[in-house]
Amino acid sequence: MIVLPENVAVPSSRLRAAERVLYLECEYLNLGRYDEWLALFSEDCLYWAPLSPAQDDAQSHSSLFHENRGLMRMRIDRITHEAAHSLAGGIGTSRTVGPAALREIEDESRDWIVERRFQMIERQGERVRNFAGLFAYRLTPGGNSFRIREKRVDLIDCDAPHEPLEVFF
């Protein structure tokens, strides 16, 4: 389900298409199906997890993650490599998400900006960690559906020290 702003109407087929993309985006990560996950993104996509609360600049300020498609591919290649020693004990993640809300449809690009709260539990070897925050998506129209042009992840403790962060939120 995607909550719509007041006075905004969109065809139900478009809503269902967006819901499906958002569902798959989380579920592919939950299942570790990274190639299919990456295929949901556009060629000019960005995966961004800011380092500071309300950070609006990823160029002159460091980020927890700031990756274009090529760097996302490189991360996938690394975490699926047999010599990724840190993952020898296995890794698994489970995301629980709140209702998605359409914030805006941009006039020019027709991109949808959609946000939802999330919690993620990660198990890596014997260690279990919790993450929580906000997913913000920029969905760009493509064919009958959407592709993800940007996924932004604002952790509630983005500016705190973390142990290594290896997989996507």
Partner: protein, 416 residues
């Protein structure tokens, strides 16, 4: 007693696992060395402060109203409550939130409620050092502020303590024609599940990259085959150079456990002519050339700080427990340098020093496994004997001489 746990090139594993050793290290190694407390650009105006924990002590780095940096214990003289609660801010006075004891920016007690309630000669009095926030001597080197927490009378001056290792800080400051650096772009912070020394002992280790970083090297090589790969790919792939390359990197060991290593990542030539001219005017041709071309990968300021001058990074390690270490890093922006340099250095920080770095997790895993192994059988010695030699001289990134140099400093401090 602690000295016996360390022999030349062979260290008792309990040095990494024992709570007793850890507590002694905090008091004897960290509290008796100059510790990096922050950069003056982080407290530009009088009253600007930052909270810092060093050697287990909750501290405030603050700029006093006379413009000098001060380091105060964040502990009210009344009941001991932390006076400052925010990580950073600006204050004309520091007021304890518990009973309102109020201090000046040099720690002097300025106000306390109902002073008539105290009797006797030793009663709390405004301005009395005994009733002020404890203050520690701070010194700066090119605006990098360091503090000495115990036995300040025994401390060599900061410049003497840093010795030749200070070159790394000079190289960064000399990248600005005004000598002015500004901490910019936030703080990256990573927690490692290892003893602090395990982390330090990897700083110039040229033997580990092909093994530890195999997964990220492989991923970067695949990415490098694409057309015009970004520099992030190049930085990660640099770990995949042959061991002979690391064998050519110069490692210098300095007094007090410090050391530095030449760089194995190369940036393409191409320098802004106006920028070069400005540096030459400020520092002279030779010094400007050195600032622009001396490729120093990192420098260790034993025990708790390191710098990556080529990419303008300052790092501080904080021992949290025998098996936990915090590493923070900051990017320094050089006043008057091209913006593109700063933006590149931010990308470098994201790629190499962020908790999400593709390089870092396998380093962290190697450290964790060392820690686990030593905890599993703590009496067993760990070896740092590679390329032993009779006296001082040039070393390479394939030698473990810098680890032995760290232990020489450790022994001197722990036995003192």
């Amino acid at each position: 007693m602690f000295g016996e746990m360390v022999r030349v090139g062979a260290v008792d594993g309990r040095v990494y696992t024992s709570r007793e050793v850890f507590a002694a290290e905090i008091e004897r190694v960290f509290a008796r060395c100059w510790n990096y407390v922050g950069h003056l650009s982080e407290i530009p105006q009088p009253g600007d402060y930052r909270r810092v924990t060093l050697a287990g002590r909750p501290l405030i780095l603050i700029r006093h109203e006379d413009g000098t940096p001060r380091v105060l214990l964040n502990r009210c003289a009344h009941r001991g409550a932390a006076v400052v609660g925010r990580d950073c801010g600006r204050a004309r006075r520091l007021r304890c939130p518990y009973h309102g004891w109020t201090y000046a920016t040099d720690g002097a007690l300025k106000q306390l409620p109902l002073p008539g309630g105290y009797k006797g000669d030793d009663a709390p009095r405004c301005g009395d050092p005994a009733w002020s926030l404890e203050s520690y001597p701070a010194e700066t080197y090119r605006d990098f502020a360091f503090v000495r927490l115990e036995e300040p009378e025994k401390a060599p001056p900061l410049a003497e303590f840093l010795g030749p290792a200070g070159e790394a800080l000079d190289l960064m400051a000399d990248r600005s024609p005004t000598g002015r650096l500004v901490v910019a772009g936030g703080r990256l912070a990573i927690v490692l599940r290892c003893n602090w020394k395990v982390y330090l002992e990897n700083l110039h280790d040229g033997l580990h990259p092909p093994h530890v970083h195999e997964s990220s090297i492989s991923a970067a090589r695949a990415a490098a085959s694409a057309e015009d790969p970004p520099e992030e790919v190049r930085w990660v792939a640099a770990n995949g150079q042959p061991l002979s390359t690391f064998g050519e990197l110069e490692v210098r060991c300095h007094p007090h456990g410090h050391s530095d290593m030449s760089g194995f990542r190369k940036e393409p030539d191409g320098m802004d002519a106006g920028y070069r001219a400005a540096l030459e005017e400020a520092w002279g041709a030779g010094r400007a050339e050195r600032a622009l071309t001396r490729n120093l990968h990192n420098a260790c300021f034993y025990p708790g700080a390191s710098a990556h001058p080529q990419y303008m990074q300052m790092r501080r390690l904080t021992p949290l427990a025998p098996d936990r270490t915090l590493v923070e890093s900051w990017t320094l922006k050089a006043d008057g340098a091209p913006e593109s340099h700063f933006l590149r250095n931010i990308r470098y920080a994201n790629t190499i020093h962020s908790p999400s770095s593709l390089v870092k997790p396998d380093d962290a895993e190697a450290y964790r496994r060392v820690q686990q192994g030593l905890e599993g059988r703590p009496g067993r010695v760990s070896q740092h004997r590679r390329d032993e030699k009779p006296g001082p001289g040039p070393d390479t990134a394939l030698s473990e001489e810098y680890v032995r140099a760290q232990y020489r400093a450790w022994r001197a401090l722990m036995e003192d």
